[in-house]
């Protein structure tokens, strides 16, 4: 079975960067990517489908990542959500984990592959 991955970010360059890094790290695995560029689109996809892995930005138009996590929690929808964000306040990680995110990664100017591998190990995907 291929691993289904949803990439949620308002930047296509970030979405591209994450898919490239995942494809390289999980090279032995079939990956199927879906994308959403704002929180509303993400919720539409998450209500209709189930994904093995979700990468979620926090600062987005229409609905933020915090709002997406809150909506999913209210509906009792659980997913392997890794927050990938430039919001690096210590409180941000605590909040997203309390809302159900299973991982938290800081965005950096150069994609941090080691951090991604660590998060994937934490959720037993590597």
């Amino acid at each position: 079975m291929p691993l289904s991955v949803l990439l949620v970010d308002d930047s296509k360059f970030v979405r591209k960067g994450v898919s490239k890094a995942l494809t390289s790290i999980l090279s032995g695995q079939d990956l199927v990517f879906s994308e959403a560029c704002n929180g509303n689109e993400a919720l539409g996809l998450l209500y209709a489908n189930s994904y093995d892995l979700v990468f979620l930005d926090l600062t987005m138009p229409e609905k933020t990542g915090y709002e997406v996590l809150t909506a999913l929690k209210e509906k009792g929808i659980k997913s392997n959500i890794i927050v990938f964000t430039a919001d690096i306040q210590p409180e941000a990680e605590r909040i997203v984990r309390s809302l159900g995110a299973v991982g938290y990664m800081e965005k950096q100017s150069n994609f941090n592959k080691e951090a991604l591998m660590k998060v994937l190990q934490e959720i037993n995907l590597l």
Partner: protein, 214 residues
């Protein structure tokens, strides 16, 4: 007059650069205010000098009739990236500094201004250094922040500050970042004006960054 217009891809890349920079400034602000800062998507546009006041009023987190305090700080890096930043705090926020910081009693006017100067330095420094490092692999130099105006109606001070004759350039690359505390006790707009000359340097840097994704 500038003949540079950025493509959609360049704007998207620049928005992500500024998004990272905003994250650094937000972290510093959260630390000093000991609170959680709500960050929103930054607004970016190359804009004609004559239209700046209206643009600032339209996109500000503040109502144009609100009384505000404006601070300015200039920045540059090795002469190819320069401009100025303006930070706006409203009077409501100013009056809550003591409460936000958990200081007993009220701050006097001078302490409030000093604190806003410190916040300006912190926000502008974190943002601009991050932008410069990402795009040019360099730190920036900064002038000391200065008080531009206090207790002024936003609409009036925006038109006064951004009068055509007060500006050094025909065009600017304007980025607006808003910082709001979750309980709305603190609101601030950070306006970054990249000089006309630097628009070209940013253009080149964006093209290099975009080439990595081809």
């Amino acid at each position: 007059m500038t003949n540079i217009q950025y493509s959609d891809d360049q704007y998207e890349m620049l928005r992500e650069v500024i998004n990272l920079a905003m994250g650094h400034a937000g972290k510093n602000l959260a630390t000093i205010l000991n609170a959680f800062v709500d960050l929103s998507v930054p607004e970016i546009q190359i804009i004609e000098a004559a239209n700046i006041a209206e643009k600032v009023l339209k996109e500000s987190v503040f109502d144009e009739s609100e009384r505000v305090n404006l601070f300015r700080q200039n920045f540059n890096s090795m002469s190819f990236m320069d401009g100025e930043a303006i930070v706006i705090f409203n009077n409501e926020t100013r009056q809550k500094f003591a409460q936000i910081l958990g200081v007993s009693g009220q701050m006097n006017s001078m302490e409030e201004v000093d604190f806003m100067l410190e916040l300006t330095n912190l926000m502008v420094g974190a943002c601009m250094n991050s932008i410069s490092e990402q795009m040019f692999d360099q730190k920036m130099s900064f002038s000391p922040p200065e008080l531009l105006s206090e207790n002024s109606v936003l609409r009036n001070i925006a038109y006064e500050t951004f009068k055509r004759r007060n500006l050094k350039w025909e065009y600017t690359l304007l980025s607006k970042i808003t910082f709001v505390l979750k309980d709305r006790s603190f609101k601030s707009d950070l306006l970054i004006f990249i000089s006309e000359k630097a628009i070209q340097a940013v253009n080149k840097s964006l093209n290099k960054m975009l080439a990595d994704y081809e």
